[in-house]
């Protein structure tokens, strides 16, 4: 492709336009977090707040946000560790052990189906099982439910074959 000034100009205009479109909502979050509540709902949105304020950050801290975030991180780490601990022996067995071939294919197809499925389809039977097991309001239910198990098995499987 010929690189002359006309092509370069078109390239840069296009690039700047796409960067603006992609980054604009993120800039908007940041700006709105610095606005007072009255100015945030102004019908004429402003690009830069008239009087920046940090009151919103104080409100976030006071409403117990960091405890929730710590919970989220804890759940993510715990469920990741659980799923890796379960997926590692599973993928090892899948690669090394000579299952009758039909079973191996059916198992892999089943894992793929679970990956494609909308999570709500799985959530209904899990909810019923967990109410019978008493795990509904419990953190342990959350750990065992949010599973990257399917992803872990597929990735570890590909890795082990190579």
């Amino acid at each position: 492709m010929v690189i002359n000034t006309k092509n370069k100009l078109i390239f840069w205009v296009f690039l700047i336009f796409i960067t603006l479109v992609i980054l604009f909502p993120i800039y908007w979050i940041f700006i709105t977090s610095l606005k007072t509540p009255i100015e945030a709902v102004n019908p004429v949105p402003t690009l830069f707040p008239h009087s920046p304020t940090l009151q919103n950050y104080v409100g976030v801290y006071e409403s117990g946000f960091f405890k929730n975030m710590f919970n989220s991180i804890f759940v993510a780490v715990a469920s990741t560790l659980l799923s890796i601990a379960l997926a590692f022996p599973a993928s090892y067995a899948l690669v090394r052990f000579n299952f009758p071939l039909k079973f191996k294919n059916v198992f892999l197809i089943w894992i793929l189906v679970v990956k494609i499925l909308p999570p709500v389809v799985l959530a209904i039977p899990i909810y019923e099982m967990f109410t019978n097991m008493g795990l509904v309001n419990n953190l342990w239910g959350l750990y065992s439910c949010i599973s990257g198990l399917h992803n872990s098995i597929l990735h570890l499987d590909a890795f082990r074959i190579s």
Binding site: M1, V2, N7, I18, T19, I22, L23, P25, I26, W28, I29, T32, V41, N42, P43, V44, P45, I109, L112, V113, K115, I116, L117, P118, P119, V120, V121, A123, I124, P125, Y127, E128
Partner: protein
């Protein structure tokens, strides 16, 4: 390129929160832009024909960097001798793009299409967060139907029947997907 990846890294709920503010009919930024440009304000999330389009727009905004990364990696792996040969043969830039780059990238394009189609089966979070089912019933998907029947109305019979139908559809879809992938090897 690191800037372009950023929308993909945000969590879905954050993206929904921002776009819900931007889509608001009275105080949203998009309607402000359309009114200063001279058009009438559009009902982004409250017009029943436009609500689905708005949700799709948010999804495109969030996941285009994913397709971009895959395409970038694929295009970087094309050796440059092909382009030099095309330039020597006298092809213009458009013809080069359509007749040379696209067939080479067609397997990657197919891969991205399959992955995005799989992701759109799980479009549940954005629908609930942006419109909660849409004005009336217009943005209701299978996932929101199952969620409402199962967890709000506790109509477990309807919910599990719909779940089974979804499962059969996705099982047949994934058999097709696996056949395509194993035929390419």
């Amino acid at each position: 390129m690191n800037i372009v990846i950023f929308p993909m890294m945000l969590s879905t709920m954050v993206v929904c929160a921002v776009w819900r503010i931007l889509y608001h009919y009275d105080i949203g930024l998009l309607n402000y832009l359309t009114t200063t440009a001279g058009f009438a304000p559009l009902g982004w999330l409250i017009n029943k024909n436009m609500a689905m389009f708005s949700i799709i727009l948010v999804d495109i905004w969030q996941w285009t960097p994913f397709a971009f990364i895959i395409m970038n990696a694929a295009m970087g792996s094309i050796p440059s001798e092909i382009f030099e040969a095309a330039q020597i043969d006298g092809a213009g830039s458009f013809m080069t793009a359509f007749k040379i780059t696209l067939p080479i990238l067609s397997s990657q394009i197919f891969l991205v299409m399959m992955l995005r189609t799989i992701d759109t089966f799980k479009l549940f979070g954005k629908v609930i967060a942006l419109t909660g089912g849409g004005p009336g019933n217009s943005t209701e998907t299978v996932s929101t139907y199952i969620y409402r029947e199962g967890f709000s109305y506790f109509n477990m019979g309807n919910a599990t029947a719909a779940s089974l139908i979804v499962l059969l559809v996705i099982a047949s879809f994934s058999v097709v997907y696996i056949r395509k992938i194993f035929q390419e090897d």
